[in-house]
Symmetry: none
Subunit: 207 residues, 4 copies
DNA sequence: CATGAATGAGCATTCATTCAT
DNA sequence: GATGAATGAATGCTCATTCAT
């Protein structure tokens, strides 16, 4: 997954310790970026969170921007892979969309700060990397959209459905959960996923 | 409406010119805050956008933070009022939710940068104002939620619906449009509102 | 006394009004310089004190520095003249020193802010003017000192007295009154002058 | 003594180096505050004096205001303590006042810039600290005054003496020395103290 | 006569980054 | 392996000053 290191002392026993520290720093960065935004957060905030000195970060991460990149890469990781698997798997389109929504929400539980940072700060990445990540996102959206358009083609979803807008709507709905997940009481990922899926699949109305 | 001014020399004829310039500056601030985020934007960015010098801003706005406040206040303006009117008006709950979704999306068209800044940067406001605005937001969400829970009570919406989650989902879905409105081709506010309303009210599935 | 004007519209009837406004501005400047110090005071402070706009000051005064100069000139005005008169007048040296102390203190009552500004901010004047004023001060101190050294020569004051230090001590003591005059209750200029004169002339001790 | 540090990494060997640099910076601040006044001095002036960059100061001192506070605290230090000792010690009131004057003047020799800054810039301190220091000053003046009023009560000083004015006069006289100490040739602290004491205790006049 | 509007230089402060040790 | 110390560029903001109207 190409997690570049600042100054990677070759070896294997010591390397382990190095990697651990490195990951702690990225984790702290994710936490403060998620809370304050990339520009609102300082490298000192990150260092303070770990009880180390500001300069020490640079032994593990070459720059603040690189830290953002690494956080974002972890933030997007897996989305595409899992959606690909769902699409390839069995079941109706209804079941696939439901599964896709759950799959989209699960990282919110497991890598909350990473996904939040990705969503909120990815546009502060340097152009090259941003474009790289934008491509991943686009591919992901297209894959999601194909689930819907194929469902329409198969006669399972309503004809005339704008699958692009539907995709953006569903993903937007799910992404919104990042804002209040952990704050709204009793809202587990599973409940959110189920409730949202019921809403968009069957509608709010009484049958 | 309380759009406070930095130094407003009393008067009325010349005052008009002052107000116009003031509004231009707030408008420029909304634009750059929306694009770069509050902390990613500098007062120089705002000044450059107007072809004036950095310091000149301070003739019209007392601080960057105050500019954010003014932008956010314009950003939230009207949401509560219009939703209150919809709720008090006639029609089924289905019609009301549909109307509410359109009403929620319209400011995206008319005050795009303001609403985006409000959504993305309001948590950088000084505590006092942030709390003030948080209250408005909470009231708005509750009002929206009441539309749904009353729809359930009236037997128009599904029993067992979690009206809180439904509200957060619908609003999140609509807010997501701020990200890509103006980029997605052919996606007018009316189409987005209609498509989203169809989706959550009737569901994606074929009947 | 060479009170330079910014743009002096010739004439005589209107000139009166101009001069009045000019003097008001200098007076306001003296007040804020005395309270906040030259660098701690802004031209806006001066304008606010008169209810006029910041820029309007420049119609009457060419610069902040020039305002300081004018305030300082009024602050020193008269000291030398009156001390010269006292020295030329009759009476014992004791009486003359006593009179000189009162004369030195009187401007504190009548032009408090001017004298305070002079004492506290004169070293912020541009070199040329500062030197000019320094000469006045030196002449004044020498004149005062001559009163004492002549008193010694006449056998009226103690032999061995360091007249230079005595002068600096007496003037410093009087100048200190500027700090608390108007605050210390019941301390009129006359009482202060008398008390200080008693102290340095006769000493604190019982005879 | 409470000489707070900006960021003091615990330790003891290296800490010494930090403290030394910190003290150098405070010393430079005292020097430029004494010469230009708090508002007339810039942090760049302080940095230039040490041959470091403006921003580097902030590694040692949290703000310009904090630097002023530290300078002032060093400036007032010891005055109260030493006067208390003099009062508690033996000797006549005449001897005590003489000793007090010397004690008051000694810091002028040893911490010239600190005391000058204290006297000239203390009113620019933030209110909380200013009040704190004002209390110290008041206590000091009262203690000094008690030396005089008790001397009167003991019949050693003239009856009818206004001990408050006498105190303010004596201290003002001594403080004036800050202005010219180091400039007036041959005026050592001891000579100044002695001459001033002779003047106020015995008077200028021949017996 | 005075002002409204703007400027440009300077200021205190922050911050990502570097590097000798 | 990590830090203490410093830097330099940028940032928000203030302020004396100017000038067309």
């Amino acid at each position: 997954m190409m997690r570049a290191r600042a100054k990677n002392p070759a070896g294997s026993a010591k390397d382990e310790k190095y990697r651990r520290r490195h990951d702690e720093i990225i984790d702290a960065a994710a936490a403060v970026f998620a809370r304050k935004g990339y520009h609102g957060a300082s490298t000192k905030d990150v260092a303070d969170r770990l009880g180390i000195r500001q300069g020490s970060i640079y032994y593990y991460v070459p720059s603040k921007e690189a830290a953002l990149e690494q956080v974002c890469l972890i933030g997007v990781e897996g989305f595409l892979r899992r959606l690909t698997a769902i699409r390839a798997g069995g079941g109706s389109y209804t079941e696939k969309v439901r599964a896709a929504m759950l799959a989209h929400l699960e990282p919110t539980r497991d890598r909350h700060d990473y996904v939040r940072t990705f969503l909120g700060s990815r546009h502060h990445l340097p152009p090259a990397i941003r474009r790289n990540i934008a491509r991943l996102t686009r591919d992901y959206e297209r894959l999601f959209e194909s689930l819907i358009s194929e469902g329409v083609a198969a006669g399972e979803f309503r004809a005339g459905l704008d699958s692009r807008l539907a995709t953006l709507g569903i993903l937007g709905m799910c992404n919104a959960a990042l804002t209040w997940y952990g704050i709204e009481e009793g809202a587990t990922i599973e409940r959110i996923a189920a409730e949202f899926a019921d809403m968009v699949l069957d509608g709010l109305k009484q049958r």
